[in-house]
Symmetry: D2
Amino acid sequence: MSAPESDALLIAGKAYSSRLLVGTGKYKDHDETRRAIVASGAQIVTVAVRRVNIGQTAGEPNLLDVLPPEQFTILPNTAGCYNVKDAVRTCQLARELLDGHKLVKLEVLGDAQTLYPDVPATLAAAETLVKDGFEVMVYTSDDPIVCKRLEEMGCVAVMPLAAPIGSGLGIQNKYNLLTIIENAKVPIIVDAGVGTASDAAIAMELGCDGVLMNTAIAEAKNPVLMASAMRKAIEAGREARLAGRMPRRRYASASSPLEGLPF
Amino acid sequence: MSAPESDALLIAGKAYSSRLLVGTGKYKDHDETRRAIVASGAQIVTVAVRRVNIGQTAGEPNLLDVLPPEQFTILPNTAGCYNVKDAVRTCQLARELLDGHKLVKLEVLGDAQTLYPDVPATLAAAETLVKDGFEVMVYTSDDPIVCKRLEEMGCVAVMPLAAPIGSGLGIQNKYNLLTIIENAKVPIIVDAGVGTASDAAIAMELGCDGVLMNTAIAEAKNPVLMASAMRKAIEAGREARLAGRMPRRRYASASSPLEGLPF
Amino acid sequence: MSAPESDALLIAGKAYSSRLLVGTGKYKDHDETRRAIVASGAQIVTVAVRRVNIGQTAGEPNLLDVLPPEQFTILPNTAGCYNVKDAVRTCQLARELLDGHKLVKLEVLGDAQTLYPDVPATLAAAETLVKDGFEVMVYTSDDPIVCKRLEEMGCVAVMPLAAPIGSGLGIQNKYNLLTIIENAKVPIIVDAGVGTASDAAIAMELGCDGVLMNTAIAEAKNPVLMASAMRKAIEAGREARLAGRMPRRRYASASSPLEGLPF
Amino acid sequence: MSAPESDALLIAGKAYSSRLLVGTGKYKDHDETRRAIVASGAQIVTVAVRRVNIGQTAGEPNLLDVLPPEQFTILPNTAGCYNVKDAVRTCQLARELLDGHKLVKLEVLGDAQTLYPDVPATLAAAETLVKDGFEVMVYTSDDPIVCKRLEEMGCVAVMPLAAPIGSGLGIQNKYNLLTIIENAKVPIIVDAGVGTASDAAIAMELGCDGVLMNTAIAEAKNPVLMASAMRKAIEAGREARLAGRMPRRRYASASSPLEGLPF
């Protein structure tokens, strides 16, 4: 028994059976990267264009040799960009390197310590990229108003953080995330902050359409086993969402509601 | 990639590949019970001897017809017992009905509202049953001292609650559970309180050896799909535990420890 | 024994001994408003210019008759404004009504359901108001990058939300709030989301410079008693912060650190 | 405005205006002990008879010289006792030293690492002491069944832990505590685990009748200031409880209940 076969994640018109999106940074080598990604079952793999060779540097190992675009949807991202101009140029470079590929993950960072997004610059860059024909998946804060605006300007997926990039702290603000999900017509994908399998399951139970992660897998002691854990956690959370959980109550007895408790 | 094949749960000398134990109450009918249990992948199935026909009542449907003891380890339990005598007798009845079967799940309840265990009576009943040759898995509070004592008197597994039976509130006291796990030499199996998939994953990430649940599956809108979610959540949590999660920290930067924060 | 006498809250060059700021909405009548505010010990009282008569409507009861500006710092706010123009005009109207009063609380809302701020409009309105000579205290999301920018453009206090206005949910994202506080040179005052006394204490223990609230007092069953509770909670939290709390650890024993736990 | 004058804590027939009970261990010297306790406003002060000289050792400094029994209710406790016999003897010794004083705080510990109570031994010692004419306030786990039994056997106050002694972790299981409070006819006083002011306020908001603490004050960087913070936090939490907090809800709008959320 599994989630219905029709339960696909739709992004920019394409259907994916996996709801786990993964990054490619921080692995020991390309072989470990490949083995972890295969174990994760991910179909969308994001690549930091400013850090990883996907063809810019001839003669060096190319990540696309181990993650061929025929098998994976490559999602170039703008990690390391701190302003609109850099972010837009990075997307344009990726489009050239990938033969007109339009799907990108935009991130415009606010500072190097927190790696929190620069929301006004993100809005500006997203607008420019959408007008330039890109299909923009966009990393942002968990601000419901900003997420809605990014959807309205044409982004194909909105990706609020759960906690700071690389923190592994898990979802900090469930209420914001829930509001974002309730108001959305495009996929909401948690990006950043997941640390372990239960964090991913919680995101899916809340109603997220998917989760993107990198550090939680790459910095586990055994990245390949953690990739398998994450695959199962995403499926478990999705199935639990679709199955409809039992109500929370104080006791098994029929009438023990939680409303009105002092906490 | 999965957990190593040797990663079996050992209870009373028998190895189980599944770490999810399930109950049989609250389902619509025997068919739904069977389908949910098959979807859960559980190998140990607990049965309330005072409520369910496993042969006591000739001529009525017998649960063992849909859950044959050749396929499942049947775990008779003493649900509904509020004193030592009733609990001990119920185990003895089960042993007769199941041809000398020694493995039982003991619960001695403190009151009908909370279904919280009566700890002194639980200790007394466990002692009697162990002396009488039973292999006792025992439901108790999350009191580390009591859990250790139950192990020392010979129980084959100790089963602290995560939250009240039938509440679905998830793990209330992670510190107690962690202390119990750290001090144990027998399996620690969370019994009661799990409400959804992530709760089960969290229990396994903490280091529990397994999780027993009933209401969370049986009272989901779609019990069979929730059973599948729980199976995956248990595996995800176990694999995440074995894989060794990334450290939690405030930011991706190397030195952002959490120690000393005001919360 | 109390916090040192020199422990004043400085806003726009003026020292306040109270760190509790209060609103004036949702009370039964002006008398209850006055009694609750006196019990709170607040010295800064915020007034929604678009809803409350502070002189706009001659011949009707004027709030300033019960809260005289000689005794309280009146803080006009732009509650109910959803765009830059309305917010700026509301501040200008308040300045006229209050004889050149410069201190205002800016809020530009994103939608009527969540009352979440519109961050880009807030940034724009703050910039206009600062240039026009206002001393701007500004309601915003708990986005550390945005909070820093509002400080850099000259706001005299930055007021991130703890949870949605009127929700009473308490602080949702302690990590964000802590980052905002650590990076700030102007007072950080939690605005919105506090529901009961402990919420206020937690904000102060985190290092906030003050807390502004309205609903938590006005919608308590006994607003005057809750105002007293909040006064004490703010002082308790501030003193606990200054006193330096004991470290958190698993047990009393010297070496039981929390770092590295699975949760 | 304050809590009504009639809002006294009644223990063994005596009324106390303070709901903060404090210990006397871990201070630098007797002078710091005295100054902190005065700042706390506590009227009941507990003393570890096996560690502190209250007359056993003639010629050495006597704690009662700085905390005279005319001003404070001295509450001898059995800290350091790991069995029934030691605990009972310690209480009897205290009664002799304090001229027939009957009020004692019983604790029978389960092990030296966790300082968790030994619940069966606690029940046995409490029964013996009550029969011997003592007025027993009793430290125990947060087990609702055990707490009720201690009340039924005649203990004058039941004192569940919030978290391990000396941990400063705050309340771990609010549901258990709430159940204990709802079912009690004697005062329920949180004993152990409070770390900072907000923890104390939360306990009072939940409905506890008082809080006993030692390490949180004595191990603060500034114990005297922390004692003042705790005094205010206890009052704030009590007043907030009596004032009746606003309901929690997702938004200010009238109909935004929390019931049925996925978390």
